[in-house]
């Protein structure tokens, strides 16, 4: 985020801060009830999507959440198509590699800018920071031209290359390396570790929560990325899940139960991951949001 540096850093454990108990009152019950209903309303679109994916067409149009005659035929139909597996794998490979690249490079650059004194440091820092101001939309045309002339269209590399490093991640990691005491690094140096070893074995373990936050943000961003993969791929076997889903849904036209099944297939993995790592994800989002 541009100019995020001026936001005062907030502890990542803020959401776990203990607050005084609230006295019981009618007002308090009503507050709870309203908030709870609001929360249920928030997940309704997801619930109806899942419900529709288990319905026959004739039942699709009633408002029941639980199908009277549940079926998995929609899933068999969509998965028999085979393309969804391919799109899922493409999305997964691209999101994982991009995440690893960001975790490594963003933290290495953040660490270098934070802990080394060398000529050109400020220049590199400001140069990287200034790229936060450049919107992706401005770069897609040149990236497309570049991919076209280098033959990167319709390849994993073509989809991935713009996101392999981010200024956001670099800046986030730099902020967190500030909390690593210089004495630790000095001590490791005296012990005879070289700088690469110090970064990897001393500094990196100390910023694990930040690395997790960065990984979550980058993964999510790439898993749901739309406009660039849409432009750089033309061959269906290289589509990512969102692009595949758009194509599939356009093909189905009015078969909403099938479209909902496709949407569910794209959403279910995220739901599972969220249910398992809820605490870490929310904490990571707070950290990345407030410090980035």
């Amino acid at each position: 985020m541009a100019a995020g540096q001026s936001i005062k850093p907030v502890s990542d454990a803020l959401l776990e801060v203990k607050r005084p108990p609230v006295p019981r009152s009618y007002g308090q019950y009503i507050r709870w009830l309203l908030l709870f209903s609001g929360g249920v309303l928030m997940v309704m679109p997801i619930a109806y999507m899942l419900s529709a994916s288990f319905k026959y067409p004739f039942e699709l149009y009633n408002l029941n959440l639980i199908p009277e005659e549940p079926t998995i035929e929609n899933y068999t139909y969509v998965l028999e198509d085979g393309r969804f597996y391919q799109w899922f794998i493409n999305s997964m490979v691209i999101a994982v590699i991009t995440t690893i690249s960001n975790v490594l490079f963003d933290s290495l650059v953040g660490y270098t800018l934070c802990k080394f004194r060398f000529p050109g440091r400020m220049f590199v820092f400001i140069a990287i920071l200034s790229t936060l101001m450049i919107p992706t939309e401005m770069l897609i045309i040149p990236w497309y031209l570049m991919s076209k002339s280098f033959g990167w269209l319709d390849s994993y590399w073509g989809i991935m290359f713009p996101g392999l490093m981010t200024a956001f991640g670099t800046f986030l990691m730099k902020q967190f390396f500030e909390t690593v005491p210089d004495d630790f690094i000095e001590a490791a140096r005296i012990d005879g570790l070289n700088e690469l070893q110090i970064w990897w074995t001393v500094a990196m373990p100390l910023v694990k929560p930040a690395l997790a936050a960065l990984a979550i943000f980058v993964f999510l961003g790439n898993w749901t990325a739309f406009i660039w993969p849409l432009i750089v791929t033309n061959d269906q076997s290289l589509y990512t899940l969102p692009i595949g889903l758009t194509t599939f849904s356009v093909e189905q036209q009015v078969e909403w139960e099938l479209i909902m099944t496709g949407a569910a297939l794209a959403t279910i993995p995220t739901l599972i991951v969220f249910l398992i790592f809820q605490r870490y994800i929310i904490r990571g989002v707070v950290m990345a949001g407030l410090k980035g």
Binding site: Q28, V43, F116, T131, I141, P142, I227, V250, I282
Partner: protein, 297 residues
């Protein structure tokens, strides 16, 4: 190796630092700075991808100013922004403010609000598109008809389509805003509230004199973050209007969709680049406004 050994500690540091930075510096130069320059240069050229790039001076910008579609698109983009940001922040603040006072099942309720943030815009755009269909397909109109209320035309109406597309975008972003607001609320020291209670200050005064002023950094961050998000809206519009992107009659078309159309359907690269320069300028102004707002007081 012996050469390295003869270096002073400071020199070794410099060597390591630039060693670490070598690949990233090349990356930022080739993948960020060079394309930025290329886009700006292209904005002053004429090119359809096949022939030569020829200088066009300010022609692309003149064409843009004279293009009635551009002004519709420009207006749409700001309607997304001016409707989306205040509405989403008001709802998010109200929910965060009250959720902060709820203890029973707090984590579970928070998770319900947060969940939509993790969904993919494409999947949810199609879900909402289904909801918006006319009777007997769409859920909303089915619900209205059971209440005996006449049908509403959502995506086929030039007045309703834009808010209908904005709704899922707001919905998906609420979870993030609520979480950030709650973190901001919890960073306010409890002692301020205790002091106010001892002084017998009313709840409204506490909100306007303590909570909101101390929440200013959080608020500015969220305003800018969501403004930039709404100015760049694309996924929802593209997926909810695939049969007529940006329609009906361009009434939902945002700037990014116009850029996409011009570049990848019309192959008018120079004209599209000029549009990205305009978008860049708008985003830059919004970011600078944040710096200004944070500095004052």
């Amino acid at each position: 190796m012996s050469y390295y050994r003869n270096l002073s500690i400071a020199q070794k540091q410099i060597a390591w630092a630039w060693g670490f930075l070598a690949i990233p510096v090349v990356f930022y130069a080739l993948i960020r700075f060079y394309p930025t320059g290329n886009a700006i240069v292209l904005a002053f050229q004429d090119w359809n991808l096949l022939g030569d790039r020829t200088w066009a001076g300010l022609d692309n910008f003149d064409k843009l100013v004279a293009d009635p579609v551009f002004w519709i698109v420009f207006k749409n983009t700001f309607v997304y922004l001016l409707l989306g940001t205040p509405v989403s922040l008001l709802i998010a603040f109200a929910i965060a403010f009250h959720l902060d006072r709820v203890r029973f099942m707090h984590g579970f309720i928070r998770a319900l609000y947060f969940l939509p943030f993790l969904t993919s815009a494409v999947a949810m755009a199609w879900v909402w598109r289904w909801f918006y269909q006319p009777v007997p397909i769409g859920l909303f109109n089915n619900f209205l008809s059971t209440l005996g209320i006449p049908q509403i035309s959502f995506l086929n109406s030039t007045t309703n389509a834009l808010p209908a597309i904005l709704a899922p975008a707001i919905w998906a972003g609420l979870g993030f805003q609520i979480i950030i607001f709650m973190a901001g609320l919890r960073s306010i020291p409890q002692t301020y509230y205790e002091a106010a209670r001892i002084d017998g200050v009313s709840g409204w005064t506490v909100l306007t004199e303590i909570t909101l002023p101390l929440l200013k950094p959080t608020m500015v961050f969220l305003v800018v973050f969501s403004s930039i998000g709404f100015l760049r809206i694309f996924d929802h519009v593209f997926n909810m209007t695939t049969n007529n992107p940006g329609g009906p009659l361009n009434s939902t078309k945002p700037m990014v969709l116009m850029i996409y159309d011009t570049a990848f359907n019309g192959y008018d690269m120079g004209y599209a680049a000029a549009q990205t320069v305009v978008l860049f300028t708008v985003l830059l102004i919004v970011s600078l406004l944040q710096l200004f707002l944070l500095r004052s007081r």
